[in-house]
Amino acid sequence: MAILVGKDTRLIVQGITGREGGFHTEQMIEYGTTVVGGVTPGKGGEWSHGVPVFDTVKEAVNATDANTSIIYVPARFAADAIMEAADSGIKLVICITEGIPVLDMVRVQSFLVHKKVRLIGPNCPGLTTPGEAKVGIMPGHIHKQGNVGLVSRSGTLTYEVVQALTDKDIGQSTAVGIGGDPIIGSTFIDILRLFESDPLTDQVVLIGEIGGTDEQKAARFIAEKMTKPVTAFIAGRTAPPGKRMGHAGAIIQGGEGTAAEKIKALEAVGVKVGQQPEEVADIVAGLI
C-alpha cells in the first residue's frame, strides 16, 4: 500500500444496488479490491455482487469491520451518506457523486472538521494503488505499479496522464482524483503531504485546472515542505473567464484562477509543467 488504499482496505459501497454502484463494485472486485459489503437503505439482508447489503453504515461496519467507504448515491442523498459514513467509524470516505449542492458540501465540511475522517471528493474518480486496490471508477487496466504518485482535480484527464506514464513504462504508487468541485474533502496539499512521507513514492505528478487557488497553495507547500520532485499539468490555458468549464470548480472568476497564474506559481518553485500528457511523462522519465 502506497497511500490511503491498498491491501488493508476493507471497502463498503454506499449505493451498491444502484446502476453506477453495482457496475463499479464489480469492476473493483475484479481488480482485486477487498469489498466487504454494501449499504442501501431498505435492502439490508440482500446480497449484491457476492457481498452482504446493509440498511445502515453502522450495521455494515459492525458486521464487516470496514474501514473505507465509497459513495455512489444520487446527489441529493450524498451529504447524508458522507456524514453517515463519518459517524459510523469509517476512516476514509470517497465520494464519486457529481452535482452535490455547494451548501451541502459546506455543511459536510464543517461537520467533518472535528472528526478523524478523510474525505476524497466529491465529483472525483476515486483512487487506485496499482496492483493492490482500485477504489473508484478509474479504468484499472491503464495503471502499472511503480513509484510515481498522482494527484488530480480531473477524471479522464488523469487517465490520459496515467496512460502516458504507463506507455513509457513508468509505474504509479497511488493515483488520487481529488475532484472537480469548488468544495472538496482533500486538497492537493493534503495528498502531497501523504506522498511526501510515503516511502513507496519517489516523485509526484500534479494535474490541476483553472479555478480557485489550490494549485498556487500547492506550489507554496511544494517550496516549503516537499523534497520529492513534482511535475505538473494544468488544463484550461485556453479557457475564457466567467464561464464554467464543466466542473463546478473550473471557472475563472474576478480574474482569479487562470491557468497562466497557476503555471507561473508552480514554475516559480521549480515544478516543471508539461504542455501535453506525453510531455508530462517525458519530464517524469527524466527525458526533459
Binding site: 455547494v102 451548501l103 461537520f111 477524471g155 489550490d214 488544463a235 468549464m245 464543466g246 466542473h247
Partner: protein
C-alpha cells in the same frame, strides 16, 4: 443560473431589504403607466443577464412620464452583447449620496460563505480588489452557527459606516445572507447599496446567481429561468445534459470529462488551431447524447474541423463511435473530422469508424494535429 435584477431584488425585499419601488415593463406604454404610478423621476433599466448594461446604454434616467416612455422605447429591443432587451425595470430614481458594495459568495479556500463589503460601491468588486484591496472587508460565516448580529455589527464598524446606518446595515446583511442561504445561491450581491436622503440605506441594484446543482430544491426559482436569455445551442446542451461553452475558434471539440476537454482545447491551440467550444459529454454517454453534441457543434458555422477525444472509462468507445455515425446520418455535413478513442472497448470503436472510413488517430497530439490540418485544408 442567473436571476435578473428585478427577480433578485424581489427576493431581497422578501428578506426585509429595502429596495426602490418599481415594476417591470415589456412595452413603452406599460413603462409610461408605471412611471405615472411611481410619480417623479424614474430609472429605466434593461433586464438582460450580462454585465455592463449601463455602458451599453441600457440604463437611463427619465425625469418625467414622457421621457420614461421614450427611453423605454429606445431600450426595449436594444441589443446588448448579443442579447435582445425584452424587459425593462422602471424604478423610482433614488437621490444617491454614497454607494456601498455588499455581496455573499462561497470562499473556496475557507470552504464557507463569506460576506464581502466595500465602501467603494457602484463599481465591480474585482476592480476594487485591484485598485484598493484595503477597502474590501471580508466576513466568513460558519454555516452551522449562521450570521449573528455582532458579526454584521463588526463589519459595519470595520467599513467605517456612520452609526446612524449600523442597525439598518445589520438587517440588510442578515437579509442578504438569508437570501443567499434560502435560494442556495453561489452569489448574492447588492451593488450598489446606497445612502439616500433621510439617512436611509437602499438596495438599488442586485444580482443572484443560483447553484445549478441545488435547483431541484427550488422549483419556484427554476420557473424564473428566462429562456430568451439562452442561445439555442446553450438550451439544447442544457436539455441534453451536456456541458457546453461556445468559444471563438474553428475546431469543434467533443470530449468526455471536463479536465480532458480543457486539455484538448489547449492542445488544439498548441498545434496552431483555435477551439470552437468546450464540450463535455460526461461519463457513460450513449449515442443519442453524442448525436446531440454533434448537432450543437455543427450549428456553429465557424467550425471548420471537429476533434473527438474520448478516454473510455465508464464511457464505451463503441457507443461513441456509433453515436458519431448516427449523428452524421441525421445531420449530414462536409466538415472534416477526426476521432481518437481509447479505453473501454476501444478496438470495437475503432473498427466501427474504420468501416465507415472515418479518420482516426491513436494519440491526442496526433488527433489535434490532424484536426488542425484538416480545418486549414477545408
Amino acid at each position: 443560473m442567473k436571476l435578473h435584477e428585478y427577480q433578485s431584488k424581489r427576493i431581497f425585499a422578501e428578506h426585509g431589504i429595502p429596495i426602490p419601488k418599481g415594476e417591470v415593463a415589456t412595452s413603452s406604454d406599460e413603462a409610461r403607466e408605471i412611471a405615472r404610478k411611481l410619480g417623479g423621476p424614474v430609472v429605466i433599466k434593461s433586464q438582460v443577464l450580462v454585465g455592463g448594461r449601463g455602458k451599453a446604454g441600457g440604463v437611463k434616467v427619465a425625469k418625467n412620464v414622457d421621457e420614461a416612455e421614450e427611453l423605454a422605447d429606445q431600450i426595449l429591443g436594444m441589443d446588448i452583447k448579443g442579447l435582445t432587451v425584452d424587459k425593462v425595470l422602471i424604478d423610482e430614481a433614488a437621490d444617491i449620496r454614497e454607494e456601498i458594495y455588499l455581496g455573499v459568495v462561497i470562499d473556496r479556500a475557507l470552504q464557507k460563505p463569506v460576506v464581502i463589503a466595500s465602501a467603494e460601491g457602484g463599481v465591480e468588486i474585482e476592480e476594487v480588489a485591484k485598485t484598493n484591496p484595503e477597502a474590501i472587508k471580508r466576513l466568513p460565516i460558519d454555516l452551522p452557527v449562521g450570521l449573528m448580529d455582532y458579526h454584521a455589527r463588526n463589519l459595519a464598524y470595520d467599513l467605517g459606516l456612520r452609526r446612524v446606518f449600523v442597525n439598518q446595515f445589520i438587517r440588510i446583511v442578515k437579509g442578504l445572507y438569508q437570501s443567499f442561504i434560502d435560494t442556495d445561491a453561489s452569489l448574492a450581491e447588492i451593488n450598489p447599496l446606497v445612502i439616500i436622503e433621510g439617512e436611509k440605506l437602499l438596495a438599488v441594484d442586485g444580482k443572484i446567481v443560483l447553484d445549478d446543482s441545488a435547483l431541484y430544491r427550488h422549483p419556484e426559482l427554476v420557473e424564473l429561468r428566462d429562456i430568451q436569455e439562452e442561445t439555442s445551442s446553450e438550451r439544447e446542451a442544457r436539455l441534453a445534459g451536456l456541458s457546453y461553452v461556445k468559444l471563438d475558434g474553428e475546431i469543434g471539440c467533443m470530449v468526455n470529462g471536463a479536465g480532458l476537454a480543457m486539455a484538448t482545447m489547449d492542445i488544439v491551440k498548441y498545434y496552431g488551431g483555435a477551439p470552437a467550444n468546450f464540450l463535455d459529454i460526461g461519463g457513460g454517454a450513449k449515442s443519442d447524447k453524442v448525436a446531440a453534441a454533434l448537432r450543437i457543434i455543427l450549428s456553429d458555422s465557424k467550425v471548420k474541423g471537429i476533434l473527438f477525444n474520448i478516454f473510455g472509462g465508464i464511457t464505451r468507445c463503441d457507443e461513441v463511435a456509433r453515436g458519431i455515425l448516427e449523428a452524421l446520418n441525421a445531420v449530414p455535413t462536409d466538415v472534416p473530422m477526426v476521432a481518437r478513442l481509447v479505453g473501454t472497448n476501444e478496438e470495437e470503436g475503432r473498427q466501427i469508424l474504420a468501416q465507415a472510413n472515418f479518420p482516426s488517430a491513436s494519440s491526442l497530439g496526433e488527433a489535434a494535429q490532424k484536426a488542425v490540418n484538416l480545418a486549414k485544408g477545408a
